[in-house]
Subunit: 336 residues, 2 copies
Amino acid sequence: MGPADQVEGPIVAVDLGGSRIRATIADEGGRLLGRVDRTTPASRGPDAVVDALAKLIWTALAGQPGIDDHDPARVVVAATGPFDPQGTWIDPSNLGPAYHGFPLGRELARRLGRPVLIGLDTHLALLGERRAGVLRGCRDAIYITVSTGVGGAFLVDDRLVVGAHGIAGEIGHLPVAASGPRCGCGGRGHLEALASGPAMAAAATSAARRGRSRPLLERLEARASAGLTGADVTEVAATGDEAATRIVARARTALGRAVTGLVNIVDPTRVVLGGGVVLSDPEPWIDSCRLEVAKGALVTQKAAVEIVAARLGDDAGLIGCLDHDRLGARWSLPDR
Amino acid sequence: MGPADQVEGPIVAVDLGGSRIRATIADEGGRLLGRVDRTTPASRGPDAVVDALAKLIWTALAGQPGIDDHDPARVVVAATGPFDPQGTWIDPSNLGPAYHGFPLGRELARRLGRPVLIGLDTHLALLGERRAGVLRGCRDAIYITVSTGVGGAFLVDDRLVVGAHGIAGEIGHLPVAASGPRCGCGGRGHLEALASGPAMAAAATSAARRGRSRPLLERLEARASAGLTGADVTEVAATGDEAATRIVARARTALGRAVTGLVNIVDPTRVVLGGGVVLSDPEPWIDSCRLEVAKGALVTQKAAVEIVAARLGDDAGLIGCLDHDRLGARWSLPDR
């Protein structure tokens, strides 16, 4: 931690997602007050993102009576990493090379004139579910998010597993097959390359173009340049289309196998599944994980692990910002 | 923990392995005094094993001046699990169904009239390396043993990851391939079914019988009913035999891929490889892990993880017994 005694006051909790930025004031009781949001200008690079963040945070602060330029409010941001402990991006594969080495924490602190702490979105989502969601009272848990990527976080003996460099939990790159589609990181057979929304969409696009599925091809043509999404594939599968069903089943089995391996490793009492891909229709994903764990967990205690859907949705990371002291991250302080 | 204030005195540290039982007295400075050992009568069932353990422990105690029937020496056993926290075996797949439900801790405490604590061999080996081996001063680490099975343990922020039921760390059943030889647990594509000594021996036996390798067939016939071992396969591979080389390479790649996934998840600074299969010739195993981690670790910090061979060999578990208070296990007390 930085000089924590200099850092106090209400928290502006911010979620920096790939498509939206959301900000809110978190009061001491853990309530979120006065949310504001806007699109993320991710394609315009990190400077544009910091501008957008700063403006939105000023808006959030302006909406709060009693908080002004001179008050001690501080800012905690849940964002896609990886980051170093000071909030500088390190090779963020989902954002692109322009973001590598960009000191998000320091830049945001400078522009806001306030202390800023950057946390991993997955770590903060787990902490949010622990504070107010399905992990209340649970001491050993795995949190998994399946959306544009696949990420995770671990709670061991009621402590978030932070890792030596603050970036523990990247389960998307767990190998679950010896071969398969190429992952964004370059590897093969990784969970993320089988189960993420873009992975399902890519497999479906390929199947459509090879003439394996008329409904997928029709959907692809209707989407034009935007291309298919994971939700498209799930919807087409629900109509009984064989190719789409196979792709979705492969994704769910991959997740189930990864969860089984993780359950054997971490020995939790609860596994939480979150992220847009799962939460749009959680039950079949949960069922697949339960089936694989029942087959593959080594002992009865592990097979009894509860597998549940995340409860807080997009708010998990914002609520998790209240437990920023459980991260391995350091405050960036503005120059004064 | 049980009533810890009733449990004190010197520690008899015991290693219950598949082929040998070893016992020693550990003094307060952490030295191991007066080792004794004998074969493990594993095939004769758990009662015979407890008998053998009790006799060997009496022998170890008898060799120590100043320790007799009335002194408060207590016993810590490093053994193949899984166990519940009281030291009762739960489905120990490497030992067989006769061991399921056998209360090793309670039975041993009853026969010895002394407090007994049962710990997982992998957990205690990590604690031993942390106390006196290659993990001294390291706070975030992965320990992996490759021998008859494949097991592991994790150190997170200088704490052993125990798990909700005390049985965290079973990395042998991490899926690394979508298919492959059947694992002892029934699964497919598991690390243990590719990288353990018996897994390599089974693949080599099959290759020999299908006429793929004359040197493997000759070795198999020389072994007669004992069958091949992992060491046989490694030795034949070292002569340039193609089939044996492929089997060994597959095992080492599987380990490297699993290590990479674990590095991405746990974010350690050091990975320790132990167990007979690795320690008979550590360098190629370490090289394979370094290669896979360099290819597959997500960020530079993780790629910089040190991969090293265990230093304490068979003594790691015995030395780890001195840190029994870091396990999730409870003392079994004798009825008095």
